[in-house]
């Protein structure tokens, strides 16, 4: 069976390059940015508080 032969289309490379450029200029996922920007202080705040001994019976 003969396969269809692909023939280059004019300007196809430039359109493809533009598509890749647009894809590369997106902002990274916000969830990832937020997690990576967590500072030590925020990390401490985010941790659950240690149980207070005074409350122990």
């Amino acid at each position: 069976m003969n396969k269809k032969v692909n023939i280059p289309q004019k300007d196809a490379g430039r359109k493809w390059a533009q598509r890749l450029k647009e894809l590369s200029q997106q902002r990274p996922p916000q969830d990832l940015v937020d997690k990576l920007n967590q500072t030590e202080d925020k990390a401490k705040v985010a941790k659950p508080a240690a149980p207070q001994k005074a409350l122990e019976v």
Binding site: N6, K10, W16
Partner: protein, 243 residues
């Protein structure tokens, strides 16, 4: 064997020879078509337009197909890493990720100064994946890859190949028809590799061209000149276009 170095020489060659089968290309040409920061971008696209005007399909081997998509993936992740670094605070607790991303951004800047298109190596890609997974988990790494090189890009891959006019030759050991005048063998490829001191994917293309009925090879890799000047036998009506 002729070496062509200008578009005028290419046009003259195409007027003198009928390229019924199409032309052969390596990944340096395909990559140059794809990224505006590649020094050969304009030339590669001008060549692609000439091939489009003259209805000449572009062929490479399946190794070239794998190499091409791998280069695109690593380049997209490089862009993503640079974008991610731009959003990071210098106070981030994830110093491994911060330092890796900064290093990638700095290398990209240095390459741009030399008009070269930078993409992370396979080793650096693994380092980045490990660092991000360790810092924030594998789900975020997968989201990151999906954003810059995921289904949005690769689901369209076959359409992109059609538009670029790409075709792929799957070679069986000793195969002749329809593209080859002599059988293509693994041992000949290994011989080219060891004689010329070039990587296996390049040796495959060189061996394939030498044994093929293709009259034109398009490449940005100057190593092929030495390769064909030294020992590989070709026909007089074959030519290599250097971008």
């Amino acid at each position: 064997m002729k070496f062509l170095r200008t578009l005028t020489e290419l046009t003259a060659f195409l007027e003198q020879h009928r390229l019924e089968l199409g032309c052969l290309a390596d990944t340096s040409f395909l990559y140059a078509l794809s990224y505006q920061d590649d020094r050969l971008y304009s030339r590669a696209n001008d060549v692609s337009d000439i091939l489009a005007e003259t209805n000449i399909p572009i062929y490479t081997n399946v190794i070239g197909r794998v190499e091409f998509i791998d280069l695109i993936f690593r380049k997209q992740i490089t862009f993503g890493a640079i974008e991610l670094f731009a959003t990071l605070s210098t106070n981030s607790t994830h110093r491994d990720v911060y330092n890796l991303l900064k290093n990638i951004r700095d290398q990209d800047t240095a390459h741009r100064r030399d008009c070269q298109s930078f993409k992370i190596s396979e080793g650096r890609l693994k380092d980045l994946r490990t660092a991000i997974e360790n810092a924030v988990g594998p789900l975020n790494w997968r989201q990151f890859c999906g954003q810059y090189a995921g289904s949005k890009l690769f689901s369209e891959w076959q359409i992109i190949e059609q538009e670029l006019g790409l075709n792929f030759i799957e070679i069986l050991e000793g195969q002749v028809a329809p593209f080859f005048k002599e059988p293509v063998t693994w041992s000949d490829m290994v011989q080219v590799m060891s004689d010329q001191g070039i990587r296996a994917p390049d040796a495959m293309i060189a061996n394939l061209f030498a044994k093929s009925k293709f009259k034109l090879l398009v490449t940005g890799d100057k190593d092929f000149e030495a390769c064909f000047s030294n020992s590989l036998h070709t026909q007089e009506d074959q030519a290599i276009l250097f971008l």
